[in-house]
């Protein structure tokens, strides 16, 4: 992790290359206490009955993975992930390679913050989830 005066607009974060298995997706859903009506996150057949191609990741899991890109970058410094926004564009399927990217779009010296665009892509470079993050560089 670098300091505020060492980062520049245009710097990239990641990419974070991931393969979320169906079991990992089920473990997340179970941990969240998702029960009845959450078949889309745990079972291919239940997901297909809802018109989906198969199991999908819960939206909050995608948010967690996008956040991880930023907190990996922050490391163990005292910079603080202050804000994260996500938009779910396309369902994210487990058992497929996904890549998470970040790109610094702005710096605010008065507030010591950086704005970052983040997004998750599939193998076809289709953007599945997009978002923004703000990191505050605390003294």
């Amino acid at each position: 992790m670098t300091k505020f005066d060492q980062i520049n607009i245009g710097d990239t974060l990641g990419p974070l290359e991931l393969f979320v298995s169906k079991d990992q997706c089920r473990a997340y859903a179970k941990l969240m206490g998702m029960g009845e009506g959450a078949g889309r996150f745990t079972d291919d057949e239940a997901a297909k009955k809802e018109g989906l191609p198969g199991m999908i990741l819960p939206g909050n899991m995608s948010l967690g993975l996008l956040s991880k890109l930023v907190t990996d970058w922050i490391g163990s410094s005292n910079a603080w992930l202050k804000q994260m926004s996500t938009t779910y564009r396309v369902p994210v399927q487990p058992d497929h390679a996904i890549t998470i990217h970040g790109f610094i779009t702005n710096k605010n010296p008065a507030e010591q913050t950086a704005e970052i665009d983040v997004w998750m892509e599939n193998e076809e470079a289709e953007r599945l989830v997009t978002g923004t993050a703000t990191v505050e560089f605390r003294k």
Binding site: A27, G59, M61, S77, Q83, T86, Y88, G131, R138
Partner: protein
């Protein structure tokens, strides 16, 4: 035509959940589910030397707290079907093991947008997370999109 709704809906708190204690084991399992390896979330000894003086949850742990039983019945509906369109989360303070967390929810705003695929009504519900000391931990804005 602007979307019609009862203005009294805005800012009215419709739910305060019972406190939920953050267990260290749940943070550990959350980190495992996301393959999290950052020592400030996973290693007690390393975390003591880190910026928070001990283990904290990854920021995104804030979205794992469940809404109460009456949450969805209080989300205003418009048109055919509602979708979870995304979230805006403001992380205010770290969540620590032992925190007892409550969520307080209200309708923040309702607005209409017209795009290529037609008119959509967005309903934004804000849930504020607080700990047992009444300190704000996070604000979560849930964006629900309805096609009219």
């Amino acid at each position: 035509m602007a979307v019609e709704y009862d203005p009294a809906l805005i800012n009215k708190v419709f739910e305060v959940t019972d406190p939920v204690e953050v267990k260290a084991d749940k943070i550990k399992r959350y980190c495992a589910a996301l393959r999290e390896t950052n020592p400030i979330y996973t290693d007690e000894e390393a975390a003591k030397k880190g910026p928070y003086g001990g283990i904290v949850a990854p920021p995104s742990f804030a979205v794992t707290f469940r809404n109460g039983r009456h949450f969805f019945e209080n989300v205003p509906r418009f048109g055919r079907r509602g979708f979870d369109a995304g979230k805006d989360v403001e992380f205010v303070a770290p969540i620590r093991p032992g925190d007892k967390v409550t969520l307080t929810s209200h309708v923040k705003e309702i607005f209409e947008k017209t795009g290529r695929t037609g008119t959509m009504v967005f309903v934004v519900i804000r849930s504020t997370l607080k700990n047992q000391k009444d300190e704000v931990l996070a604000h979560i804005d849930h964006r629900f999109m309805n096609r009219t």
